[in-house]
């Protein structure tokens, strides 16, 4: 029964149709285009990280410390486990949506729990493996490939996320229970998670030094973590020294802890699922106040409500503006360090104004609500389709929402960076106009992406926010527009001044925006009509 159940959950969660949002056999052109875009994304990811870790491996090899790569591998894997499980544990274990279907079946609750856990772990292992593959390759390249080392790596790799799974599962449940007591529980949830991320972000940068390769600055931090958290040390020794003892420590401690966890949470999983998320209906005597608005404003307001009602949506597509505001406020207090931090983030030796522009553009590209918000209509899409609203108006409302998410914060950030770094008034004005037009390009491009890759059939928001073709193409498409601007700057930087180039970049972005807007205007209705509600 465990096998059948696991197979069913896999089909339910990870079928190709589910991941892409459409049947690729029925739409070959679309499949090819998305395939090319995915290949581009993968190439960018592996190309960038692969180069950085290959370079780092060479430096460490020269120092005779190539095993430090393994501490990167462990800490990245642990970090990814923390983030993924914090978001997913609640939905996978404690409040799963198909409980009412599964509970009446003659299946032992332990079997259901194990099947759910298996699916969650496989999702984690696959993500973690892909994410850390450049590190693994660099390590084995510089220290030499050997069968025993790879075997030890595979065993140790399976063990290392298990402790974060245990801790984060409980933390995820605690946050869900604690915030459910409040009226605005979702917003409190979003704030807690943002605070957690910003904390990790600040700690990681506060300990870094600026080097040619930004990863070298993290060596001391990871060396510190491996001293403080023994499993990292066991992991490194097990693979690098091929130490059976360390592998035994790692395997034994993690398997015992995880087995105990499974045994102990059985009752808890039963109770939380039985209770469900309590609906709190309060009869209110407060009179209803009516307010009429334009259709566009009503649609934008709806977008705001949706955004703040989904922790996953807000945290993933709202991280850009949050990073922007945190760093720009920090720049007022840590003026001297801000250039170093930006140098690390961008990873290239550029003037401070260009570093700021690159950082702001990156944060705007990370604000990809338009690439997924149409998909997030999901089962509610029938409402928009049956109402007398033009498709362009719906798309426009989604673009306006994305602009409202990033543009005001980007403008405030430019003003704050202007104060902290001393950018002149004219240059600030040019930066503001440039950033606004660039945000328009990104928002409109993302809207087109989602018009072509709608995914209405999903069980939870994560399938759209993190796993959909729209999210992928939205983010990587945004990076492409940054690259186009970067290339344009690089071409002219020897001949023209910074101010003139940025002025020309405004025209460049207008030139990119115009056809995108035209496309939305002309094609929206047709694409909308083809979508199935």
């Amino acid at each position: 029964m465990y096998k059948k159940l696991t197979r069913l959950f896999f089909k339910e969660n990870f079928s190709i149709k589910r991941l892409l949002g459409f049947d690729f056999r029925k739409s070959k052109t679309k499949a090819i285009l998305i395939g090319v875009a995915i290949f581009y994304g993968i190439a960018v990811f592996f190309g960038t990280l692969g180069y950085l870790f290959f370079d780092l491996g060479k430096i460490l090899k020269d120092l005779g410390q190539e095993q430090m790569l393994l501490s990167f591998l462990t800490v990245y894997s642990l970090g990814l486990s923390v983030v993924l499980i914090l978001f997913r544990a609640s939905g996978y274990l404690f409040y799963y949506k198909d409980y009412d279907n599964l509970a009446p079946l003659p299946i032992h609750p332990r079997t259901i729990l194990l099947a759910k856990m298996t699916v969650m772990l496989v999702m984690l292992y696959v993500s973690s493996f892909i994410f850390t593959l450049p590190i693994v390759f660099s390590y084995f390249y510089w220290s030499g490939f050997n069968v025993l080392g790879i075997l030890f790596y595979l065993i140790a790799f399976i063990c290392i996320p298990l402790v974060p799974v245990i801790v984060m599962s409980f933390l995820s449940l605690l946050i869900a229970i604690a915030t459910s007591k409040f009226r605005r529980s979702k917003i409190i949830n979003i704030i807690i998670i943002f605070a957690l991320f910003i904390g990790i972000f600040m700690v990681s940068f506060s300990v870094n030094d600026v080097e040619t390769n930004p990863l070298t600055g993290q060596i001391d931090l990871f060396a510190g973590i491996s001293n403080a958290y023994p499993p990292v040390r066991w992991f490194m020794n097990a693979i690098h020294q091929q130490s059976f003892v360390d592998l035994f420590y790692l395997l034994g401690s993690h398997v015992i802890a995880f087995t105990l966890f499974i045994i102990l949470i059985q009752g808890l999983v039963q109770r939380t699922n039985q209770r469900g998320v309590r609906a709190n209906i309060r009869k209110q005597s407060k009179p209803v106040r009516y307010q009429s608005k334009s259709v566009l404003l009503a649609l934008v307001q709806k977008e705001f409500k949706k955004f703040f009602s989904s922790t996953l949506y807000a945290v993933n597509s709202g991280i850009g503006p949050v990073m922007l505001i945190v760093l720009s406020v920090a720049s007022l207090f840590y003026r001297s360090q801000i250039e170093e931090i930006l140098l690390q983030m961008v990873g290239a030796n550029l003037d401070i104004e260009i570093l700021i522009l690159a950082f702001i553009s990156f944060c705007i590209a990370m604000t990809y609500t338009t690439a997924i918000s149409l998909s997030l209509e999901g089962k509610n899409f029938w409402i928009l389709k049956s109402l007398p609203i033009k498709a362009e108006t719906i798309v426009l409302s989604k673009i306006i929402f994305n602009l409202l998410m990033c543009v005001p914060i980007a403008i405030i950030s430019i003003l704050m960076f202007g104060i902290s770094i001393g950018i002149g008034a004219i240059d600030q004005l040019i930066l503001i106009v440039l950033v606004v037009v660039f945000a328009g390009v990104i928002s409109t491009f993302d809207a087109i992406v989602n018009l072509h890759t709608p995914k209405f059939d999903f069980v939870n928001d994560a399938e759209v926010v993190k796993q959909s073709a729209g999210a992928f193409l939205g983010v990587f498409g945004g990076f492409t527009f940054i690259a186009i601007n970067g290339f344009f700057y690089f071409l002219l930087s020897d001949t023209l001044s910074y101010t003139i180039i940025t002025l020309l970049m405004i025209f460049l972005n207008f030139a990119m925006l115009a056809p995108l807007v035209y496309y939305v205007k002309v094609k929206s209705s047709h694409l909308f009509a083809k979508m199935k509600a």
Partner: protein, 237 residues
């Protein structure tokens, strides 16, 4: 008047979900639409509402074609699906305000209509609560209210009585009769044959995408029950 002219729709290009369906629904008609599961009821209702495209034929309401003038048609109609999937991030009143904004109702109109129907269906006191906290029946009532507040000329409903308590079902039937007497047309699908028999002046039966019987309810039934007619048609090969 709603004219459905030889509408055909296929999802896979092989099997016809609707096969040259033609129907006419007059002003004030209370039209019942019955058929077994998968016969094509929802497909036809969604096609009329402009939710899905259809390959051939046309659907015309008040002189506007849903193919060429979808916005004009949608301004005059309301559609209620078989499952009340609505924005859970909104409160009940925020959803109704959203619909009122789309149909450009002024504050006085919307206050009057919302108050009237929310009081009738007994959800006036929970309108400030999030929809996510509503039961299935409460959501169904909210969708019904949202369809009624802008006074559509045509109401399309897919299984409207599913999930409603007996009192709400009774009230909905009363509302149906009341608005039909004022000239509103209602076209709804249901599996509850007694409702069609007692309530509807017209009925159509769909089988494998084709209309196999249609007309005045009394003429179709004659001396039999609608259940007998339906079973006879269903058993014909």
């Amino acid at each position: 008047m709603l004219e459905i002219k030889e509408v055909s729709k296929s999802y896979d290009g092989i099997k016809q979900a609707c096969d040259k369906v033609s129907l006419t629904i007059e002003e004030g008609d209370l039209f019942g639409f019955i058929g077994h599961n998968g016969a094509g009821k929802t497909t036809l209702l969604k096609s009329i509402a402009g939710i899905i495209n259809f390959e051939s034929g046309d659907i015309i309401f008040d002189g506007f074609s849903i193919k060429t003038n979808p916005i004009e048609v949608k301004k005059l109609i309301a559609y209620i699906p078989d499952n009340p999937d609505i924005y859970e991030s909104l409160t009940g009143i925020q959803y109704l305000e959203f619909i009122a904004d789309v149909f450009k109702l002024n504050t006085i109109e919307r206050a009057r209509e919302v108050d009237k129907y929310a009081t009738l269906f007994e959800i006036i006191n929970v309108l400030n609560n999030p929809i996510s906290s509503y039961s299935h029946g409460m959501k169904q009532k909210l969708v019904i209210i949202s369809a009624l507040i802008h006074k559509p000329k045509l109401l399309l409903l897919d299984e409207p009585f599913v999930g409603l308590d007996p009192k709400a079902s009774f009230l909905l039937k009363e509302v149906f009769m009341n608005i039909c007497s004022k000239g509103v047309s209602i076209f709804f699908s249901t599996h509850v044959l007694e409702v069609v028999e007692k309530l509807c002046n017209k009925v159509a039966i769909i089988k494998q995408g084709k209309i196999v019987a249609q007309g005045n309810t009394q003429e179709i039934i004659m001396n039999k029950s609608l259940e007998n007619i339906f079973m006879e048609i269903a058993s014909e090969s």
